[in-house]
Symmetry: C2
Subunit: 343 residues, 2 copies
């Protein structure tokens, strides 16, 4: 038996090396909550809550106050019975990052109890994955410079943030493509375009001979018809991110044939919904990528274990910890540039 | 590391206490294949292949000859990386009971290696489940007698086989209901009716005040439109069994809104597809039951662990081992009449 006796939340703030600018948002720092689940035999499981107000409507100062409610709801439960605990935590659906961080901490405690890494618990599908690195919104000149640096550091997949200025965005992607040949591009508009702008964007770039591996969330989250319109008019695969939070969102996206790709982020779904999304998307023969919010290495560890264990992802956008200043690396994995491997 | 060094198949035949009669089939015995997966540190994982020619088109004499092909495909793989092995075994989709028994044996070996029961690996959702017991097709008098015996043995859920004679079937279910008040009934036609007969069946029984918890597979497996017609004209929940083998079958059933319930049998799906079906069906807000073919306690152990771990099932029809003569109980669980509990 390994019953939960305590759950602790601790606020941690990490500075970005450089302010991170995406459509409608600039961040200087990321404030997360470190979660520790403690069991009666002294095992500690760790997780991290990295909320996004923009995506989930969550504010860290409110989430932090849920410590007692979370503890009350799962205290005395056995971490081996993790699905029971996941079910209880599913009731915190309106604060999905809390659900995610606590669910992971529970699985981490179970993993420690049986001395088996989480990536094996989840299936041990891959031994190595490769993350992209992200170019935030900036001047064209600076974005091209940053993309070149990222590429020269060995990242083969580059994520490019667009969505605030159609003409400039087209020029930026074209310039980056010209300067980093053989890289692959995930272009993320973070809901910045109208459906027609999004189609214009891909058509112009396609005519210029630019290849885009994934075109992410071109339109606002609620516009599923718009997403479908872009999908059926885009030569590149179209992904849902902000539109795909819970498993119910993804169920609807599949039924409505609205996307080619789903971007899973544990902070939007928790582990419970993320596992369901993996199975649904694979069955529907669509593709998956995995992304992050502003996690430190502790939080990225969650997504890395999920990605290695399920092996479900074509692209991994797990780079927030590379953009944040941290004193100590806390992942239970090895990182060498873009390469992430099991211990 | 715990790498697979050998896989062994052994034929085992079990006699039924009483010939088991369902629509279009009478069985005196069940011939299964015991699977042993052996790893380089001497761990043995056990599974059982219990084929159904009627449902899956599988013949045990052919399956038995796959021993070498199975061994060749998974030898040297590490049981901790079970999803990798599941993926390889998914290629044996045309022999799903082989896929099921071998996938389970792999998970059993992993479970032994880390000294953690499979039901905890899968989530530890439930500590106890309750199985029904089945009344095969016979005279009305004998069927009522058997139902009364089952009920008096403490089984609250009774499965009733129908499908060969509409008028007699209606009378049988009515009589059983009158003689076992407070029992719940899963009525299984095993594809025996036309869609209109099926609707007639439920309408007449409904008017007589008989309650049916699940009406299983009224029409032939391929008739998804017929299944949907029955669903929308039945006051009772309608389940797919023979229509729901792979995860792709279930994906289609969900999209076409054809059923209320899905009956998962590991022998139709293997563990890999069964896990996907659980997630899809729960997301779509439909219900699940779990059933069996002609498994001995070794094979029922697989479904029991799956059901306890995922906790996904409203009804458990895991009674084949109760109908077969066995020298030794081989489940890694406790059974007391209808009650099945963790060790």
């Amino acid at each position: 038996m390994s019953k939960i006796v305590d759950v602790k939340f601790e606020l941690k703030t990490y500075k970005y090396y450089k302010p991170f600018h995406i459509t409608g948002s600039v961040s200087d720092s990321s404030t997360n909550i470190e979660v520790v689940v403690i069991t009666d035999i002294g095992i500690k499981g760790y997780g991290e809550i990295s909320p996004s107000f923009r995506v989930n409507g969550e504010k860290v100062e409110g989430l932090y106050k849920l410590e007692a409610a979370i503890k009350e709801s799962i205290v005395n439960m056995d971490v081996k019975e993790y699905r029971r605990i996941f079910d209880v935590l599913d009731k915190f659906f309106a604060t999905p990052s809390v659900k995610a961080g606590v669910q992971y901490a529970v699985l981490d405690a179970f993993s420690e109890e049986i001395n088996t890494p989480v990536y094996y618990l989840l299936g041990g599908m891959k031994r190595e994955i490769e993350t992209d690195k992200t170019v935030g919104i900036d001047t064209i000149e600076n974005m091209v410079k940053e993309a070149k640096e990222i590429f020269s550091e060995g990242f083969k997949n580059i994520k490019i943030k667009v969505g605030e200025d159609l003409r400039k965005d087209i020029e930026t992607v074209e310039e980056i493509a010209r300067n980093t040949k053989e890289a692959k591009y995930i272009v993320d508009a973070n809901m910045g375009y109208t459906p027609k702008q999004a189609v214009e964007f891909v058509r112009v770039l396609y005519k210029k001979g630019v290849d885009i591996s994934v075109f992410e969330q071109p339109v606002v989250a609620s516009d599923i018809d718009g997403l479908k319109y872009v999908r059926f008019n885009s030569p590149y695969p179209v992904a849902a991110d902000e539109s795909a939070k819970s498993k119910y969102d993804v169920y609807r996206l599949i039924r409505e044939e609205a996307v080619d790709f789903v971007n899973i982020k544990l902070m939007k779904s928790g582990l419970s919904d993320a596992l369901a999304i993996v199975e649904m998307v694979k069955t529907a023969n669509l593709k998956l990528m995995i992304g992050c919010m502003g996690e430190s290495s502790l939080g990225i560890n969650q997504s890395v274990n999920f990605a290695l264990g399920t092996g479900a992802f074509v692209f991994h956008d797990l780079d927030s910890h590379l953009m944040l200043k941290e004193n100590k690396f806390r992942g239970k994995f090895k990182q060498n540039g873009s390469k992430i491997t099991i211990l």
